[in-house]
Amino acid sequence: MTAFRALLRRELRLALRGGGDMLTLVLFFVIVGAIVPFAVGPDQELLARIAPGIVWIAAFLAMLLGLDRLFRPDHEDGTMILLRQAELPLSAIVAAKLIVHWLVTALPLIVASPLLAVLLAMEGDALWRTICSLLLGTPALAAFGALGAAVTVSIRRGALISPILLAPLSIPVLIFGTGAVSVGQSGAAMLFLAALSLMAVALAPFAAALAISSAED
């Protein structure tokens, strides 16, 4: 257990030192979101309508950008090999990384979404639904991402996340996510999201661990 905590602490330190600090993370989402009006035009009610999609895309992008740093550095500087000799199983290690990854990429988005809401002229309850859907959905994105990153690291050196995993897994999340915000029957979508996240978070660590350990360095 103390080993797990040590891992969490270290991952957090690494994430927050050097460019990853909270200011940066929050800025990231606000700016990515604030770009949109320049492209689609400053029409308030239009913005309000696409706002959920924008927020979810921003989340997706942020997850993708962060993923690259999830396993590759450890794989390349030999840390992975040593972690496999550690007191705790590889899946636990992946889980720790997953948690931190969510904390430093997804959470700031959720924190920053009110700001985005103002810029994109979202009204109150849509904002609430957005936050809920993000809370429910981003874990799934993180988990699938971790799986993709693990497979990529083990198969190909130095490439973006393997798309074959990426697309089919994350598209449903995004669709349900946006659905949960915008459409009338957001309740059902929320349920789907929750289910997806539960399943993904439960399975991803083991799958990812398998992928990594099967990568003969």
């Binding site: 103390t2 080993a3 905590r5 040590a6 891992l7 602490r9 270290r10 330190r13 690494l14 030192r17 050097g18 550095p73 450890d74 390349e76 500087d77 030999g78 840390t79 090999i81 040593l82 972690l83 496999r84 000799q85 550690a86 007191e87 705790l88 003969e216 360095d217």
Partner: protein
């Protein structure tokens, strides 16, 4: 020897072990046994599979043939330290933080972090960002990792790489103490490592055929 043993008596024995990379065999099938208190030196030209053999023993690379067992261990305990070419050091964390992390992840069963750092001669750099360490200093930090948590089997891949003269002496000292505590070590090296009592050391030449 007078000093009481710290580790349970273990025997690592491999029978007709053949290891290779990407499905292609590198070494001829070799059988070896290493007992507590013994050290096996792997020598041989570049690319003859020393690292591969160490990785196989560590269980990272699956062997192509033969079997491999460590007798006398209780199953769930982790018995080995691997210290490879790349000394897994995280920039952005201070030297002390790096070592702390490994102490907690591998179980702080060995000496304290500060002692270990002092032992390898990094005591004065404890608070420095580990990314700034010079090559040899990094190597020393990697060695310190072996000290903070006790494990009977050391697998060392060129432990003396990038170390200065005093560093070579350090490696010898550490190895000798580890053995005298009843540990075992397998080290791939190109430099001469001469332990005080030479009967403990055996040398295995790889790929002399080529």
């Amino acid at each position: 020897m007078t000093q009481r043993h710290l580790f349970p008596p273990l025997t690592l024995c491999a029978e007709a072990l053949q290891c290779g990379r990407g499905g292609m065999a590198l070494t001829a099938p070799l059988s070896l046994t290493v007992e507590s208190g013994q050290c096996l030196l792997l020598r041989g030209p570049n690319g003859t599979g020393k690292t591969t053999l160490l990785l196989t023993l560590a269980g990272i690379v699956p062997p192509l043939e033969g079997k491999l067992a460590i007798k006398g261990r209780d199953e769930d305990a982790r018995v080995l330290h691997y210290c490879g070419h790349r000394n897994a050091i995280k920039p952005r964390l201070t030297v002390a933080e790096n070592l702390d992390f490994w102490a907690e992840v591998n179980g702080p069963s060995g000496t304290s972090v500060d002692e270990a750092l002092g032992e390898v001669g990094l005591g004065h750099l404890a608070e420095l960002d580990a990314g700034y360490l010079s090559a040899g200093q990094g190597r020393r930090l990697a060695l310190a990792r072996l000290l903070v948590s006790q494990r009977p089997l050391w697998l060392l891949d060129e432990p003396t790489a990038a170390l200065d003269v005093e560093g070579h002496a350090l490696v010898t000292r550490l190895l000798d103490r580890h053995l005298s505590l009843g540990g075992m070590a397998i080290a791939a090296t190109h430099d001469a490592i001469t332990l005080p009592d030479s009967d403990r050391v055996r040398t295995l030449f790889l790929g002399v055929g080529r």
